[in-house]
């Protein structure tokens, strides 16, 4: 019998603490598979965020460091500059990257640091209890906007890939989703390409993964993936925003 799938070596054989249907498990697997396939696990350092993935060091079977809230890209910058031979990635959620760590994100992108950022966008704060994130959709309910996000009071959601694409320092920016098996496979190609961008020494790469948080959205995992495909994808269009290889469509054949 041929085994179709197997647990990647870069992922420890432990049970994850995430809620049922949480997108973090899938995103972890995609990062770990990319490390395995590129053969860089032994020289990879990951930066775990503050958020639900704060215990990512229990799961990734590579060197890990845990940073203060939002400071992932700053720590990754220091690591990469001290140890340029290492592959450094920062794994962050939307509250971490887009709210508290916005300055670190923009400036490391502006400096063109040769690091990879994996950005999990699930449109809500997870660990702290479902507060409104900068990426929360207009009308979406959260504990700090129980009537739904009102643009007059709470402003508008931010599109990080579009924002960073204005900066000359960025080399690879793509937004993917994990709401279906086909999209998971595409997301894997994007994550792997972001790592390849760093290995080839090209500069800042970021992959934004549209993910789910069924617990804090207050819906079932199946409704959560429907929410991503029906409501998040129109607000956050999928695609390549910057590509070091020029083409906008070659990612699917990477």
């Amino acid at each position: 019998m041929l085994q179709v799938n197997r647990r990647p070596e870069s992922l420890c054989d432990v049970k994850m603490h995430y809620c049922p249907g949480c997108g973090h498990g899938i995103a972890h697997r995609l990062v770990a598979e990319s490390m395995d396939e590129l053969g860089v696990r032994e020289r990879t350092i990951g930066v775990a965020p503050v958020g639900c993935a704060v215990f990512a060091d229990d799961y990734f079977n590579c060197d890990m460091i845990q940073g203060p809230h939002g400071r992932g890209p700053a720590i990754a910058t220091g690591l990469k500059r001290c140890k340029p031979d290492c592959i450094v990635f920062s794994y962050q959620g939307d509250g971490d990257l887009a709210s508290i760590g916005m300055a670190e994100t923009i400036h490391s992108a502006g400096r063109g640091e040769n690091i990879t950022v994996i950005f999990i966008n699930n449109a809500i704060y997870g660990m702290t209890g479902g507060q409104m994130a900068p990426t929360t959709l207009v009308g979406q309910k959260a504990t700090t906007c129980p009537q739904g996000r009102d643009p007059l009071v709470n402003g508008y959601p931010m599109r990080i890939c579009e924002l960073l694409s204005q900066l000359d320092g960025t080399r690879y920016l793509e937004r993917v989703s994990i709401h279906s098996a086909a999209h998971v496979i595409k997301a894997k190609r994007a994550v792997k390409k972001a790592f390849r961008c760093q290995i080839e020494g090209r500069g800042f790469s970021l992959v934004e993964i549209l993910s789910t948080c069924p617990t804090n959205m207050g819906i079932s995992p199946l409704d959560a993936v429907k929410f991503v495909s029906d409501q998040m994808v129109p607000q956050y269009p999928l695609g390549v925003f910057k590509d070091f290889e020029g083409g906008k469509s070659d990612v699917s054949r990477d």
């Binding site: 019998m1 085994q3 179709v4 799938n5 995430y18 249907g21 498990g25 899938i26 098996a181 998971v184």
Partner: protein, 73 residues
């Protein structure tokens, strides 16, 4: 015949795999597992093609898929 093995101790019953399976091979169990969730089970192995899409969407890496090797021509 392809085989889908669901690790009941890892499955948290999110049902994402039941939606991913185009041939509706996976259903939720009616008895709960050691962790207290209703895990998914493969109810129709004869329909399974071994495509592995259920494993692609499983957030807990609870699913392992096996299929027969194609005979070399």
């Amino acid at each position: 015949m392809p085989k889908v093995i669901v690790d009941e101790a890892r499955c948290k019953g999110c049902e994402l795999c039941t939606a991913a399976c185009a041939r509706k091979c996976l259903v939720m169990s009616t008895t709960f597992s050691v962790t207290g969730y209703y895990p998914s089970v493969c109810c129709a192995p004869e329909r399974c093609t071994g495509c592995g899409l259920c494993a692609q969407v499983c957030p807990d890496l609870a699913i392992t898929v096996f299929k027969e090797e194609k005979a070399k021509k």
